[in-house]
């Protein structure tokens, strides 16, 4: 028991570095692995257009997040779809592939966003339908999803920041899966 608590100290420090369980999440820097892939893919630069909640989805899905044992995690700029857009822009910018004047436009619609910090196994899922148009013609349209599951502590002090981190990391995972899609690469090929 004591060893479990001890083991949690650096982990909690690294996961949370905050004492508050009601926090806002902002997009951060680019991901080394994704940038390396984008640089090697020989793609043409693109601009990033509208990102919004998919039609027919509960509006709350784009602005809130439940499943955190009463704690809350909110998107820093008001919506999770905007958070996804910012994540994509960060990866493209760091790869030298973001050009607001490009004729290729990447757009997205959030179709799923959830997390469950349950005792035992935590789970989260994020999905979006991405579209790429070039000169008004749709050259790519596909729903991409990312999921995660992890060992979730009975201790809220450990489980909640872990779940928040796992959920936040899904945005980078989702963009990485998009980048890995051969159809995406074909749509943006030089």
């Amino acid at each position: 028991m004591i060893r479990l608590a001890l083991r949690s100290v650096p982990l909690v420090f690294a996961l949370a570095i905050t004492g508050c369980a009601n926090i806002k999440l902002d997009a951060t820097g680019a991901t080394p692995a994704t940038v390396e892939k984008l640089r090697a893919a020989n793609l043409a630069p693109a601009q990033v257009g509208s990102f919004k909640l998919a039609a027919g989805k509960d509006p709350a899905m784009d602005t809130t997040l439940s499943g955190l044992r009463g704690s809350t995690l909110a998107p820093g700029k008001g919506s999770w779809s905007q958070f996804l857009k910012d994540t994509l822009v960060a990866e493209l910018t760091a790869s030298g592939l973001f050009n607001p004047a490009s004729t290729s436009i990447i757009e997205g619609q959030l179709t799923d966003s959830k997390v469950d910090a349950a005792i035992g196994t935590g789970t989260s899922r994020l999905a979006a339908r991405f579209t790429i148009t070039n000169g008004g013609r749709v050259v790519y349209e596909k729903e991409v999803a990312a999921e995660a599951s992890w060992e979730s502590s009975f201790l809220g002090a450990v489980a909640i920041p872990t779940a928040m981190n796992q959920y936040g990391a899904l945005y980078k995972t989702l963009v990485a899966k998009l980048v890995d899609d051969p159809d995406f690469r074909r749509a943006l090929a030089k």
């Binding site: 028991m1 001890l6 690294a14 570095i17 680019a30 991901t31 390396e36």
Partner: protein, 218 residues
């Protein structure tokens, strides 16, 4: 005839009571440990992975500019908050290394890319058997646990077709409670934050030194 499920069984009830009592006691103990941990826990970094001074690096005759990408991971998952918190320290260390003419988040005109990743993995009790501790101290005893950190540095030169160079290193932070003994030679840190930043500085310095010795660098 009474139903078996409703029969009074003193031994079964005593066991149930003891189970609940022990469970409550464990929760209280854990709460106490977590509450007071900051005051009585001690933090150490492994003493066998010291910092390599930047003066010791093999400096290139004509350093190139580089784009720096940095990520802290927890069990292989990107940790945005820790990445952001430690970003400035990592950047300062790369700049001060003298191995590059300029360091930026954005793509460098010359095309060189340096990615630095540190992954925090809790060490199991058989970490030595699995080889994680190889080259580092191992001798965790009592109420002491180790947290492993795997650092990976990847450098892609700007030259077209040049292969990516990769160097890796490992480090450990120990946390002791009460009479727990840290491994011999480990260095006591004043706080967990100091332990993390010291570990990071030492780990990156060693991988940077290894990179500088590569014949293909820069």
């Amino acid at each position: 005839m009474p139903c078996r499920g409703l029969e009074w069984n003193p031994r079964l009830h005593r066991e149930k009571f003891m189970t609940r009592f022990v469970g409550a006691l464990r929760s209280l103990l854990l709460a106490a440990v977590m509450s007071f941990l900051g005051g009585c826990a001690a933090f150490y970094v492994d003493g066998n992975a010291p910092e390599v001074p930047s003066a010791q690096y093999k400096k290139p005759a004509s350093p190139a500019g580089v784009q720096l990408l940095w990520e802290f991971q927890t069990r292989g998952v990107a940790n945005a908050r820790a990445t952001e918190l430690l970003k400035a320290r990592v950047s300062e260390q790369i700049v001060a290394s003298g191995l590059f003419s300029s360091v930026s988040d954005l793509p460098d005109a010359g095309g060189a890319l340096l990615s630095v990743t540190v992954n925090n993995v809790p060490l199991s009790d058989d970490a030595a058997g699995k080889g994680f501790i190889a080259g580092l101290t191992f001798g965790i005893a009592g109420q002491t646990v180790g947290d492993g950190y795997e650092g990976t540095l990847r450098y892609t030169p700007g030259r077209s077709g040049a292969p990516t160079l990769q160097r890796s290193g490992k480090h450990v932070i120990y946390t002791s409670l009460g009479s727990g003994s840290p491994p011999p030679g480990s260095l006591k840190m004043p706080s967990v934050a100091e332990a993390v930043t010291t570990m990071l500085r030492q780990l990156i310095s060693r991988t940077l030194n290894d990179l500088s010795l590569e014949a293909a660098f820069p």
